[in-house]
Amino acid sequence: MNESIKNIESSTIPRLEGREAFPGEVHPSPSGGILVSKLDDVINWARSNSLWPLVFGTSCCAIEMMSTASAKYDWSRFGFEVARATPRQADVIIIAGTIVNKIAPVLKRLYDQMADPKYVIAMGACATSGGPFFYNTYSVVKGADHVIPVDVYIAGCPPRPEALLHAMITLQEKIKSGMTREQIKMQKPEQSF
């Protein structure tokens, strides 16, 4: 099984550190130059630079998320400007807050309604593990990854806007290198994740 997975890893992980502006090589020619690239890489590059988040916040992390969207931190600089109020137009869901048993089916439904390819960021301690509500609570889901798969986790309670930006840029790097869960699933359709 592992031959192709190994190939993906060896070919992509160095690129995670490289942070190329655009995938491909330019061969100069008298009339300007020819760009040689892989279509998959170009698609991933395009997707990673236009990630539309879903408007979804369940507690105080959402305040930090709003701050990240605001002028001071301005996530538009990285291609996140269009927060969408419907899952059908969103690419990434930022789980900003506590997931309780009652909202868990709603979160699952929102995720199911999003079009492929879709990505998930678990923001803060609650979404990662239940956080301060891990012990002695009857209502909190101990980690949003019990409900939907997560690509990037952020530590913090709540994380600062810089941390959220870092997580979103990490997600972009992950998409560019084809290492998100969805992308791996598409490459290995016979395997179940």
Binding site: F134, Y135, N136, T137, Y138, S139, K142
Partner: protein
């Protein structure tokens, strides 16, 4: 009115009331049987005029439950806290939702979380908890849920 003046006025209205000092606001301890009369007076008495119920909650002390009501007056700018001990096995107290409409939802919340039965409440049913939670009160200290709760 200052706290001292409030104390005198409340003692006039309800001689059975006792007081707890030491806080920013005066705490009045009353018997649940006097609650309906006392609440009515707090709202309607002109120089009290407690027109704003800004907190209604309950505390589980393991031996008994205590209802806690916070009132303030938007005209006189004074505040009072009313507490009432309830029997833990059969917690019952009169509703005040006909005097302060906000108490309607607050009492439903206390009903689902602590199991306090509010007598003559117009619509006493679960507020936030999903259907079928009646009788299980998650804010009680002895609440057990081996599936969801990880004990520390």
């Amino acid at each position: 009115m200052t706290n001292e003046e409030l104390k005198i006025k409340i003692t006039e209205l309800l001689p059975a009331a006792t007081f707890e000092d030491g806080g920013e606001w005066i705490n009045v301890l009353i018997d649940p049987a006097n609650w309906l009369f006392f609440a009515d007076q707090l709202r309607k008495s002109g120089d009290l005029n407690f027109d704003y119920l800004f907190c209604l909650t309950c505390i589980d002390f393991k031996t008994h439950l205590t209802m806690v009501y916070h009132f303030t007056s938007t005209t006189h700018r004074h505040t009072v806290v009313v507490k009432s001990k309830l029997d833990r096995n059969k917690p019952e107290i009169e509703t005040i939702s006909h005097i302060w409409r906000t108490a309607d939802f607050h009492e439903r919340e206390v009903y689902e979380l602590f199991g306090v039965n509010f007598l003559n409440h117009p619509d006493l049913r679960l507020l936030i908890l999903p259907d079928g939670w009646e009788g299980r009160n998650p804010m009680r200290k002895d609440y057990e849920d081996p599936i969801n709760i990880i004990k520390l």
